[in-house]
Assembly symmetry: C2
Homo-oligomer: 420 residues x 2
């Protein structure tokens, strides 16, 4: 058995360039070499799968395997290119009453998803509200803020995350799902980071209306591939994007509405990634020794990494966490960069001049990527500057030591340019 960390990276992630420090799995994922090889050989064999029914069979085969692995009924799932596309499909499939229906989102909603709601507003006049969330918050505060709105009974649909993007915090998604049922709002769960980080058996017990998750991030399927879960109540209204051809394989899936609707898009755009799901499952089961082993390693390394970064950043730094420690996830954490002393004035300037921060951010990114082959996202949130770090099975404590010193150096060097 190969140990997680450095040996694991050297054995299974050989496509990564040697001098890169991979600290941004949350944004882009990283595919193990053996899965990538499967991707390439499947891709090369596309001539075999030029037939819709053959493709439909393969689509269903992967759907069944994943459904079994995740404890989700495969008939309630569809493969889509990415989570954001899934959110778009749901939001644009619902037959709204544009004069009266309202949507509820929150202030950490992923930009492209929030934009889709804004598009529905601009194009069709649908109304929406935003729950303002200023983390760190306790789960019950989050639930209360949503309930304040939902209890008015005004909302056709409520979209919320399992794990938000930036900052990355875990939401009380089970409670929010129940809340939606209570107040008769459709629940749309953006679980972009969920598969591979979270246990998903709640889906078939709580039965939200819609749920999406990428498979090419934490689950190791090649880009781009995601899952869309649709409660059976809503199969009829789903309109894939692009819309499918009429029933693909009548004999094969008469009653499997979602399969008929979605497997044509699969054929057209991302079949090859879907075909690698079985290999990803086997990689996670065999080489990674299962989901628990993965999460345990991530949680273990996460603690070590946080400690190391807090020490390197020094006074004024802070982990984004609440009292009950419910925001944490195995793969992601956020650290506040210390903007004290001379930097305090720069932070104020960034807050009043977003362009100055954008400028700083760009310089920071350029140095980081070009000179040091590191990438760690930086952003302003709740009156502070934050960095979001990822922890994957191929990471090792060394990734959070010398590279973080370099990162601090880059930040300080670029901040200096913004002293008035």
């Amino acid at each position: 058995m190969v140990e997680f960390g450095k040996p694991f990276r050297e054995d299974f992630f050989t496509l990564l360039e040697k001098d890169v420090t991979p600290l941004n799995h949350g944004s882009v994922g990283l595919t193990p070499t053996q899965i990538m090889n499967q991707f390439i050989s499947t891709y090369s064999a596309t001539v075999k799968y030029s037939n819709k029914n053959v493709q439909a069979e393969k689509y269903v085969e992967q759907l069944k395997l994943l459904g079994k692995y995740l404890n989700i009924n495969y008939e309630n799932m569809a493969f889509v290119t990415n989570a954001t596309l899934g959110v778009n499909i749901v939001l644009r499939s619902i037959p709204y009453n544009f004069l009266t229906d309202k949507i509820l989102i929150h202030s950490l909603t992923y930009g492209a998803c929030a934009n889709t709601v804004k598009f529905l507003h601009d194009q069709y006049g649908i109304q929406y509200d935003i729950v303002e969330l200023n983390y760190p918050l306790e789960d019950n505060e989050v639930v209360r803020l949503f309930e304040e709105k939902l209890s008015t009974g005004q909302y056709k649909l409520c979209m919320f995350d399992m794990i938000t993007s930036m900052p990355s915090v875990k939401f009380p998604y089970k409670e929010l799902t129940s809340l939606c049922f209570k107040y008769n709002a459709l629940s749309l769960i953006d679980g972009a980071h969920a598969v591979g980080l979270c246990d998903l058996s709640f889906i078939e017990t709580l039965k939200p209306d819609f749920f999406v998750s990428n498979l090419h991030k934490w689950f190791f399927v090649p880009k781009s591939c995601a899952i869309l879960y649709v409660n059976e109540k809503h199969h009829d209204i789903m309109a894939p994007f692009p819309l499918a051809l009429p029933t693909l394989s009548e004999s094969l899936h008469d009653s499997h509405n979602l399969i008929n609707k979605f497997c044509h898009s699969y054929v057209q755009t991302y079949s090859t990634a879907v075909d690698c799901i079985s290999t990803a499952i086997s990689f996670r089961t065999q080489e990674c020794r299962g989901e628990n082993a993965i999460r345990e390693y991530q949680m273990f390394l996460r603690s070590q990494a946080i400690e190391s970064i807090l020490t390197i950043f020094g006074p004024g730094t802070e982990l984004l966490e609440n009292k009950n420690k419910t925001l944490r996830t195995p793969g992601l954490f956020n650290i506040k960069y210390p903007m004290i002393g001379r930097n305090e004035q720069i932070l104020k300037r960034f807050q009043s001049h977003p362009n100055a921060f954008a400028d700083f951010r760009q310089r920071y990114i350029n140095t980081m990527i070009k000179e040091f082959k590191i990438y760690v996202p930086i952003f302003i949130y709740n009156n502070a500057i934050w960095l979001r770090f990822s922890v994957a099975v191929y990471n090792t404590i060394e990734d959070y030591e010398v590279p973080i010193k370099k990162l601090k150096h880059i930040i300080e060097k670029n901040l200096k340019l913004f002293i008035k």
Copy 2:
């Protein structure tokens, strides 16, 4: 210089399994090995491109190269996953007046595109009409049939093809574009097969409203990658799918509306294929010796292939062609299968029992793929059974000889099962 045909296949399309006869390029394309290698190495390097501005730069770089090669202003183009997705984006972006607007399509509209129009009808109440086209038709008949409808001035938008899917015929697309202008209908050209088969310099002179084309079919870019052209009049209304984040790189592309809108989706879903466009251009210029050489070879082999198939199929067979020979394209042709004698009665049965034809078709496909590693689409059109063949630079006359005899054998064997 490597000759087209067998030597070309052996040198540049090594990913194709040796015993496969590739006769369906029109459906799935086939990627040259060197472009696939570029795809793989770019894919592996995704960690480098985890930054939006770096990605935006690469996106624009490929856009500029392609624009120059196709004689289309790159600022009017966007990369999307496939042509059908492009059609969907256009059809779902337009701010219709659902009470009064009407859309015009035709009876050979690609199924998924026609379905999108039907979705707009079902979901929002938009009206649509269908121009019935029973080929073989002369171009002026096609234009007259469209003009009959368009001249009523009722249509907000008219969607038509450059080269239809099944049967594959070339449309009088320039005339139809002008007709749309004349009658004040937006023109949406589905050029799924266009890039790599047709000269596109008419785009910037005739300036249709919208145009889409796949790049992963005839242009040799890996799947899946397509181009969406949007007349500058309409940049403002375009809503990509999924919707983009707010302006990605303010400093970089202030005025380039389409770039800002579309490069985020590129990042999320298909950047790697886009990154191979420059390699595809170089392959077409160098190894293929340019577009003219490609088309000349295809037209040359096409004639030979048609002759061979007509001879093998025997009495009652026929090429789909009109008097003025304007339906032909370099890469595709349709042959009517002879349903004479005993088969005449089977054709009648298929026409009155679509399920029987679906059953036959499935058996035909299974035998063809599993036993002979050939795939040629079969369909009923205008009271006859047709087969659609593809001709690519790696095809050779041998592909249309012994394999076609096998094809005939498979068809006859399976037809026999349907004798009453």
